[in-house]
Symmetry: D2
Subunit: 361 residues, 4 copies
């Protein structure tokens, strides 16, 4: 049995950090050896630092309860303790950008949930089933920045996970999408803890999430982009309009998508076949967190639904349904993915697994 | 003071029927003199017939508590008791169609919530602010069917109220819409009682409502249509794609709408001005249930919201917000209306008021 | 028409403060002439200071939108602007206690929602229907503290409103309660804004509210107490056990109460008659905010319910139902009251009305 | 490996029936060989019979999808197919009573969720951790009724599971309870599907569940009773008052319990120790569905909570918390159990496992 790689969680006391702790428990490749947080938490045993704020159903893993929380700013100390850190810090973007670079400079790999580096030209933003080849940027990044072994890779916003993979599967099958209009119905956990007040969400929906529509429209173009001349050229042939809503659902982001194909429009059966047959690099490499299949198809006319379908593929699959003609564009469908699993910690862990399988770690 | 017109409520024990009873209490023009329901309820005092199923917050009006429920099939008896009936029956469409015609044949005016007659060529489907001139069909209808004083008018589906008036205001101002993609987030009361199970709706949304998308796409074209040669010619220049979702909200249907203008696209300010200045026939005639203004504009970026805004204009206005450019079409906005008030009983009462003011009653 | 008394709202930007603003709009006796808040808000127009945090459905009253927010610490300035202040500050109790005393020393009457002075021996804690005679403490208070015209009166915790009045009505009718076990199901608005996260409350209940059980058990004894020797002697003959739960309800605190009478137990009919006939001082004096009747009795076996019954008596009544024998004690019933209306701003306004009617203002 | 016992599920298409199907999938001792339902479903493949009403998250097990649904009334046919049936029929009690007896007469063991036989003198009502010795009634039952191999055993109402085991653990440790007042907050799934309308439950709680309080008060006394002279003598020394509320929670019944001991009151530490050390017969026998430990103790002051704790012990444990003194009785605590798992299908399966381990099957 191969020895497990030691990893750290930066921002380990917040909700996304706790999700990492939960998902990395008994991970076959990775082992948490560092939990880091703000200076206020540093020095405390982990269970004390999260005291009264542990939001997972399963308890804190025994091996981590008493682990002393490190100061997230002390990147030097991290160097001795692990090879890779998952960044789940919630702070000013400028600060996060620099801190993540500092870790990389120390030779550590950084896989981040934060949006700080999503548009940095030499940082790959990865959906492992879609743009695994964008990890080639790592070599460029290391050259640009003279990093030895260090690297930064990021995952996109949780809102895009419900439609990026289904649209990519079509594109890969020679059926590229020209235009998509998506209305999302997003879970409250997407806003972290505490997120929206119950006083706001009971008997209500909120038709606005700050910054979310821009990310939902722009990030997919970069993910579908081409790597050339040392940078990603976004797929500007595609246009997305996203309207993002917050709904009183705990977990699970849903998207109602109308789409127009660039070329001739396929039949419903063709689309279904493409989705059914789709497999990405993570499935090929059989990465530990890869869902099989990556796209789950529901045939009932009232599915997918957040509570019923978010756990598909252990919360790592995208579930689609309701594929039907659109009076304005070609087709419509509904996509669903688990926002704190696939859309946050789980997606980043899958990215780290990809980087390891590709030899970057 | 003019004497009030006597009206009946057919299907008076159901949720929509109860809403009529509530809204007609102390109405300045109408007075309920007949409550009719299925044979099973006939003969009972009204309060007994609804026993344990009274869903309104205010109690049953005292004057109606002891009123004996009539058999809805006994249209002859109704003739003596009222001039107008509001039809809130929930039954097989073929049955409803015939029953409503039977009432009209007896010389009674029928204003209906049921969808049975929505596509009948000589029956007007009215949104009073939008197509008040479609009531001209009444003369044709009476001629076609040799009805003396009787008439049938219907209101459209509750889902369209959130966008039909805002789109019409633009059209009327010379800014017709060519294409609209709407995703609705609809309240559970739209399904009547009991409607969706709480077991289904807690921590969940349902991306499907049977029959709702077809109505949401087709009915507006008929409402925007032209009356010529004795029938309505739908506005086939317009195309709507509607994706209808059920969300855990008690009252208030919301729509996220992307729209493309037929001609040149106006500025945001122009659109706002058009909506602000819009007034329909009900406002001009100062009908008792007409909201002033018919379109309420919210400037906060996270409004309208169902719980906060559904009661605008006593639940009769449409509230709009978030007008902003769309990366795919010209603009996007959010519309909201109260589905059991504006979208059901209240909308039908406003239609009856219009018919009365126009001399059809 | 008498000139309205000028009043201030201290802590005017928070949720309770906003409720005051809403309820005092068009009040027949009082007129808001001062809105005060923390130094950070001071100097801004009121609508700017609450910007994005206005939680009421009706908009900010026009006359207050542009009113400049005063610094709550500047009690001197308040003196010139009003005769009475409603205190809705949310701060450290020691700080609140002193600030309220400073206002009183300036000659202003203070009616407070804060718990800081609830146990101060010479400060009356008033439920106007129950212990209106406790306002006699005002004379003692003024003598003790050499206040000229100033006074402090407080209202109890919102959780007790659902059972204090029903129990008092029985006591006043010669049927005192010896023991009561109450389990409360409390709305999220009781925690202020933001209060519990939606992530916590969706598909969940929380069996704990910090400090609430102690208040729910002790405050009623003081309210039922006797004024003698210049202070309140709590009714120590009574014992209450309260278990307080938070439930996903917007407004409306419910209590399931089992009770044992001190003496012989009355019949169900007697209890109902006592509640039906009950009228307090506010009803006798016909105070503007007094509900008629103060106790609403529902006969359906599944009422009261928060959403259906919280607005009884304009949100100022207590609604009771399900009176039935208890296998352990004598009887059980369910009480419900509106926590942000009766239980907060509305209750305090009624107290101010009582003080004015009694000549203390 | 021992051959699995063949079992049937009667009422297999309803929600409780589906839960059986889910929980029996891959059960180490039992194997579903019969799915029976009403004549309307009989003859259809199982997946068709539940069509559109499959309420579990995991799909219908492949081996059962095509199994032909039998007519529940055809007890003869069942005899050939299985040794044991789980009864999840929802019908008139008289009908259920006779049908279950007919199965037993055919030599089949019946373990039932229905309340029809709960008070039948020679039918044991079992909570395996509490009154496993009541299965001795089976011998008496067989003698009384001349049944050969057949038997009927039932499980109690789901509402009592949250407090019966904690109270029994104390009793068994020599600390019997004299009096308990319990307020329950029960999940909507407890009412089956569809259960309460979302229109009723959003922003609301219902302080009444038909028949539930009687069951919650009486069934524990029978469970704690003694078997003598061929029947159960209820523990009439104990009195319980239960107030049952429905709350907008999917799964998980909670109870707020105040309790008085018969003898001297123990310390908090003693009670905790008793609960911690408690093990019942199922744990001793290591039955496949037995939770380890049967009572989970949470120390946080705001636990147990339904969403966080219902899955404790795979949904088979009772979670307790908030043990503290009561101003009226001795102590108070909060209990929680999963109502559709422990409280329904799971509890019945554990009972069947007990019967098998005891040699009755």
């Amino acid at each position: 049995m191969m020895e497990k790689m030691k990893v750290g969680v930066i921002g380990a006391t917040g909700m996304v950090g706790q999700n990492y702790i939960k998902l990395l428990n008994d991970h076959p490749w990775f082992e948490v050896s560092l939990v880091a947080a703000s200076p206020a938490s540093a020095g405390k045993p982990y269970h004390e630092a999260v005291d009264g704020r542990w939001l997972m159903k399963s308890p804190i893993p025994d091996v981590l309860r008493e682990l002393t929380v490190a100061d997230a700013n002390d990147t030097k100390a991290a160097m001795d303790k692990c090879r890779l850190v998952f960044s789940a810090i919630d702070a000013d973007k400028g600060f996060v950008r620099k801190l993540e670079e500092k870790y990389a400079q120390q030779g550590l790999a950084v896989v981040s949930n934060n949006s700080a580096h999503r548009l940095t030209p030499d940082v790959p933003m990865i959906v492992p089933e879609v743009n695994w080849q964008h990890t080639d940027l790592v070599a460029i990044q290391r050259r640009n920045r003279s990093w030895q072994g260090g690297l930064i890779a990021v995952k996109p916003n949780c809102s895009v996970q419900s439609y990026v993979t289904p649209l990519y599967a079509l594109k890969q099958a020679g059926l590229p999408i020209e235009t998509a209009v998506a209305a999302t119905l997003q879970a409250v956990s997407g806003a972290g803890f505490p997120g929206p007040a119950s006083l706001t969400m009971i008997d209500n929906v909120i038709p606005f999430i700050p910054g979310e529509e821009e990310k939902s429209e722009e990030e997919p173009l970069r993910i579908f982009g081409k790597l050339a001349d040392g940078k990603i050229h976004p797929d500007n042939a595609m246009r997305i309009s996203a309207h993002c809503n917050r709904v009183p659902v705990v977990d699970g982001h849903m998207a109602c998508v109308s789409m127009k194909f660039s070329g001739q429009k396929p039949s419903v059966e063709e689309i279904i076949r493409v989705w059914q047959d789709f497999n990405g690099k993570p499935q090929e490499l059989d990465l530990p967190s890869a869902p099989h299949p990556p796209i789950v198809i529901r045939e009932e006319q009232d599915r997918p639904q957040p509570r019923m379908d978010r756990d598909g593929g252990n919360g790592m699959a995208v579930t689609v349904g309701r594929l039907r003609p659109c009076p304005v564009f070609d087709y419509r469908f509904v996509g669903l993915s688990h926002n704190t699993n696939r859309g946050a910690a789980g997606g980043a862990i899958l990215t780290a697994e990809l980087l390891k399988a590709q030899g970057y770690l």
